[in-house]
């Protein structure tokens, strides 16, 4: 796990398979990780959510932006090489194009999750079944996503 300094805010790091890079509920330390090589899995409440293996994929950005504990665990499933951007908010503000990239990425994810929610919701309607979710949930977000 020898960290190699390239710029003061950027570290290159290596983790063996089975390492928790981020722990759900853990305090954010203000850093964002960028995957260089390898595969990680995302777990929420101990359950598998997804696998990430695309170089350049980022994690940790949600808790950095929202200044709240991590909402999921990220665990390496192979040996992983990554970059760690420390003091990410300050670094991003000095590189607005990266910030814009992250905003775009978040917007894409919002779009995907919203589509999945709508699909789940319409399946419920088809099944004419009662699930405990307020009927006005989509319109009540007060954040209309235009």
């Amino acid at each position: 796990m020898a960290a190699e300094a390239t710029e003061s805010w950027l570290k290159f790091d290596f983790f063996p398979a089975g390492t928790d890079l981020i722990v759900q509920g853990g305090e954010a330390r203000g850093s964002i990780m960028v995957l260089k090589e390898g595969e990680v899995e995302v777990l929420r409440d101990g359950k598998y959510v997804s696998t990430i293996k695309q170089p350049g994929a980022i994690f940790g950005e949600m808790s950095v932006l929202l200044e709240r504990p991590h909402s999921a665990t990220v665990r390496t499933i192979t040996d992983v090489q990554l970059y760690v951007i420390e003091n990410a908010l300050t670094v991003l503000e000095a590189h607005p194009s990266w910030l814009l990239q992250i905003a775009r990425l978040l917007a894409q994810r919002v779009n995907t999750t919203t589509a999945q929610l709508v699909a789940l919701k319409s399946r419920e309607v088809e099944q004419d079944d009662v699930l405990v979710l307020p009927t006005n949930v989509f319109s009540s977000w007060g954040d209309p996503q235009i």
Partner: protein
């Protein structure tokens, strides 16, 4: 909110009268709008789904960032003053505080949608399990 208003102060202001359309559902403008004053409503498929009245509210972010058509119509109620960035990317690149504000908004939105999704999937799973038990018990009877 305040930081985005500081950045938005560099942008031109459009003044809209009552019941004026700011963006139309289905249109692709690439513009970003920031409410300066007044009140707006969001109309989707003919029904009002939300009201926007807080100065600094951002409109058009999803559409501008993803180069997608607007997913709803936004119009004024009594009238509004709105800052308009014709080139959203250029505006955000020049104003990191505004970009951070929007990234934060998106992260908060993603946090909500993901939490809901996890919750709905969990409920769907419980229901599937219940269905399976019901079937097994039906076979046993």
């Amino acid at each position: 909110m305040e930081q985005i208003l500081v950045a938005a102060a560099t942008l031109p202001v459009h003044v809209l009268g009552p019941r004026s359309v700011l963006v139309s559902e289905g249109a692709r403008t690439g513009k970003l709008y920031i409410l300066k004053s007044g009140d707006l409503e969001v109309v989707r498929d003919g029904s009002t789904v939300a009201a926007i009245g807080d100065p600094g509210s951002v409109i058009g972010d999803m559409s501008a960032l993803l180069d997608l058509p607007h997913s709803a119509t936004v119009r004024t109620r009594n009238g509004a003053e709105v800052h308009v960035a014709d080139d959203a990317d250029a505006f955000l690149a020049a104003h990191p505080a505004a970009a951070r504000h929007i990234a934060r908004l998106l992260a908060a939105r993603l946090h909500k949608t993901t939490a809901l999704l996890v919750d709905m999937r969990r409920q769907a799973k419980v229901r599937e399990d219940q269905d399976m038990f019901d079937k097994i018990f039906a076979l046993l009877e």
